[in-house]
């Protein structure tokens, strides 16, 4: 079957399409990541939940705002100080407590408690200075706001303009305040830079190999719980491939067996299969999903944290719905092939029906199996997001669906990193699969209308 496919004209036509080859290469890259994660355990689900940064730290090389920087610096100082105070009160060794504060590779500096205390005091001093800077800036901003509002009331006919300052004066005032705000922001910036330098002495960035790992963990920012978005997003590649390949394999298998049997044997087999097909396709997709959510609620699969078994409801939902399309296509093709001369010839020689079906009919529908496989992978990856949103999806490990569903809350706080990274990675994968299935269709089945 494979050998015949390898020699076919369609495959040569497919290989000639440069964009499809590029897309295949990209799929290869994604697949390599999936193998690294899934087989070699480069990233474990535990890595995805561990804290690497303060919560909602911006990613994509975006610089945090002044307020965010101040908040983050205070967060770093505060948690070290809490542990020091705790150890002092209980008279215990502070080192194990400080080790709990490690952000994976980024540990608290190996200094004596006294030295740390000194650094913290220094940091609080700088922090107070920064706080004063912020107060000053806030006052300036308030003044600016008032002046802007006053300027706007000049245009209001209900207000007596005599009580207001003249327009020119206000304009000049606003201009002056704007430059002052800018200057004070610059001031705050320099104070914050000093503050961050102290924080780096308390909890320095790792260097060398550990430093590279830490950069990888942090370059896409963090979510609400402070866990790494990049780790989550890359782990999800494995989940996407797992969901896509398992579903597509099962569905193509069921669809081919039922479709080919229905078309080839006809009679009651055909009637039963077609009844099943029309029954399954008459249930609205999302309604079926909703019923499955209800069916699996509280069962073992719903509560388990086993990364494979917890996906069973998801596979069930996909396999119940997706085989229908493949079955229809294969049935149509087999109906056509059945009437061809070589099948009649095989029958006249006296080959058995099963032999003809397996040896002569199904191999000639292989291209449809491949096209459907590719389309089903896309369908599964995209539907996983919707299912996870409905509560039937992935549990106990990160997935793009979970990230996008979380992202809804994050977006309201202007934190786009979570939904952004999930969308970009998923977009890439779905796009290349789209391109490959288009190219497959053009090469093997050019007469087909999508």
């Amino acid at each position: 079957m494979m050998k015949r496919l390898a020699k076919s004209r369609g495959l040569r036509r497919f290989m000639r399409s440069k964009i499809a080859m590029a897309a295949l290469a990209v799929i290869g890259l994604y697949f390599a990541v999936a193998i690294l994660v899934g087989v070699f355990r480069v990233i474990t689900p535990a890595d995805a939940t561990v804290r690497v940064l303060p919560s909602r730290y911006p990613g994509f090389l975006q610089r945090p705002t002044l307020d965010k920087r101040f908040e983050v610096a205070q967060w770093f100082i505060d948690r070290v100080e809490t542990k020091l105070n705790f150890a002092e009160r209980r008279k215990t060794d502070v080192r194990p407590l400080l080790d709990e504060l490690a952000l994976v590779e980024r540990t608290v500096a190996q200094l004596s408690p006294e030295r740390l205390r000194q650094l913290i005091d220094e940091a609080w001093e700088v922090s107070d200075e920064a706080g004063e800077g912020f107060d000053l800036r806030d006052d300036l901003l308030d003044d600016l706001d008032d002046a802007t509002r006053e300027l706007a009331s000049h245009r209001d006919p209900d207000i007596d303009t005599a009580t207001l300052r003249p327009v020119e004066e206000l304009r000049a005032f606003i201009q002056g305040k704007r430059t002052e705000v800018q200057a004070s922001s610059g001031e705050i910036d320099s104070v914050l830079t000093r503050l961050e330098a102290v924080v780096l002495r308390i909890q320095p960035l790792p260097t060398g190999w550990a430093g590279m790992k830490y950069t990888f963990r942090t370059f896409l920012g963090s979510d609400y719980g402070g866990s790494s978005i990049s780790i989550n997003a890359f782990y999800s590649i494995k989940v996407a491939f797992q969901v896509g390949i398992v579903t597509a394999t099962i569905c193509v298998f069921i669809g081919t067996v039922l479709g080919a049997a229905a078309a080839f044997f006809g009679g009651w087999v055909d009637h039963t299969v077609m009844w099943l097909v029309s029954t399954m396709s008459s249930i609205p997709y999302l309604v079926l999903l909703a019923v499955l959510v209800y069916m699996f609620r509280g069962t073992y699969f719903d509560t388990t944290s086993n990364p494979f078994l917890s996906l069973v409801p998801l596979y069930t939902a996909f396999c119940l719905t997706f085989w229908v399309g493949t079955c229809r296509v294969i049935r149509g093709e087999v109906l056509k092939i059945k009437e061809l001369e070589y099948v009649q010839a095989a029958t006249s020689i006296g080959f058995g029906r099963f032999y003809i079906l397996l040896r002569h009919v199904v191999p000639n529908a292989t291209h449809l199996m491949f096209i459907n496989f590719s389309l089903l992978v896309i369908g599964a990856i995209k539907s996983e997001v919707i299912l996870t949103f409905l509560g039937l999806g992935v549990k106990g490990q990160p997935s793009w669906g979970r990230m996008i569903a979380n992202g809804q809350q994050e977006v309201i706080n202007f934190a786009f990193w979570e939904i952004g990274s999930a969308t970009v990675l998923m977009f890439g994968l779905v796009l290349v699969f789209n391109i490959v299935s288009d190219a497959l269709q053009d090469a093997f089945d050019p007469k087909h209308v999508t």
């Binding site: 029954t279 008459s282 249930i283 609205p284 309604v287 909703a290 609620r297 997001v385 209308v449």
Partner: protein
């Protein structure tokens, strides 16, 4: 003609019974009473609910009884919202769904047909290629992302930034057409397009954008396929202009598959888009179903599923009939 319709109906009745059978069985895999009352209900509570839905009867009795009650839409009372029947809640959920699904369907169909016509007219040229690349790119983004970003940039952000032009509500729904009680008795007809724009236009826009990618590609493929037919070559040979061929000869024939495709999306009118309704908090059919699932409201779920499946089957029959009407090549016998 009528014989054809009747035959289609008769063929689909066993299919419908099959769906109901599957769905009823699936809904009983997990004990519905336990689902609703938690792990340890008192025997009286249990008995009351079981009596209410006839769950103490054998499955076959329940099945027959349920089938008999479907034509009357009599699915019992909601467990969660005592005193309301499932039928009431069902009917109440229809107008919100329709008020954004009908415009979405119409707008998506019209815009996609126009875009695909343009694409097919310039096929192989840069315009066509750009449009098709855009369609593939659009198809590759998740539905949820469109909704979340649409809601953020369409409604949330303009409000946060206090723009003077922030026409859309972030979520929610209010009736915009119908009858309402007037003070002092009687009722009056009211119609307010601005309310519709506030609550429904943003979901419509998001829905259209999502549908565009798939529809445009399909319609273009149909049209390009139609362009290679012999009658087009004949028309070209006799000297008709390209534009005339596109709009007069080809469009008429290409409309056959297009009508079929639009018909297949009709159940969407009633089922509503569950996701759009969830995010925009529109109390339509989809959201009602999901709420019922989250509340473990067994009678509601069962009733909704039966209605959804019936609507789906009726559309499938309607599609077949309309297809036979517009395409004279399909034999009715």
């Amino acid at each position: 003609m009528w014989a054809y319709v009747l035959r289609k109906l008769l063929y689909n009745i066993p299919v419908y019974f099959g769906i109901i059978l599957l769905m009823m069985a699936a809904l009983r895999v997990n004990d519905p009473v336990n689902n609703y009352l938690g792990k340890h209900p008192t025997p009286e509570q249990r008995l009351a609910l079981e009596k209410d839905m006839g769950l103490d009867q054998p499955f076959i009795v329940q099945y027959v009884r349920f089938i008999v009650h479907i034509p009357l839409l009599d699915f019992g009372d909601s467990w969660k919202y005592e005193g309301t029947t499932v039928r009431e809640r069902l009917i109440r959920a229809v107008p919100p769904s329709l008020s954004f699904t009908v415009p979405t369907l119409l707008a998506a169909a019209m815009i996609s047909i126009v875009v695909s016509l343009v694409s097919a007219y310039y096929r192989g040229r840069p315009v066509d290629k750009t449009l098709m690349i855009l369609a593939v790119l659009g198809m590759s983004v998740s539905y949820l992302v469109y909704i979340i970003l649409g809601q953020f940039f369409g409604a949330f952000w303009p409000r946060e930034a206090q723009w003077s032009l922030a026409p859309f509500a972030i979520s929610g729904y209010e009736p915009w057409i119908g009858m309402k009680d007037v003070e002092g008795g009687g009722s009056a007809f009211f119609f307010s397009p601005t309310t519709w724009v506030t609550y429904c236009l943003l979901p419509v826009i998001v829905g259209v954008i999502v549908a565009m990618g798939y529809d445009t590609r399909f319609y273009r493929a149909v049209m390009v396929e139609e362009c290679t037919r012999d009658y087009i070559i004949t028309a070209l040979a006799k000297g008709a202009t390209k534009r005339k061929i596109m709009f007069v000869h080809m469009l008429k024939n290409a409309l056959i598959p297009i009508v079929t495709r639009v018909m297949t999306t009709l159940p969407f009118l009633i089922t509503g888009s569950i996701l759009l309704e969830m995010f925009f908090n529109i109390p339509g059919m989809g959201k009602t179903l999901i709420t019922a699932i989250n509340d473990n409201d067994f009678p509601m779920i069962q009733g909704f599923v039966a209605v959804f499946a019936a609507v789906m089957i009726l559309t499938i029959i309607l599609t077949d009939v309309i297809y036979a009407l517009v395409d004279p090549r399909v034999r009715l016998s």
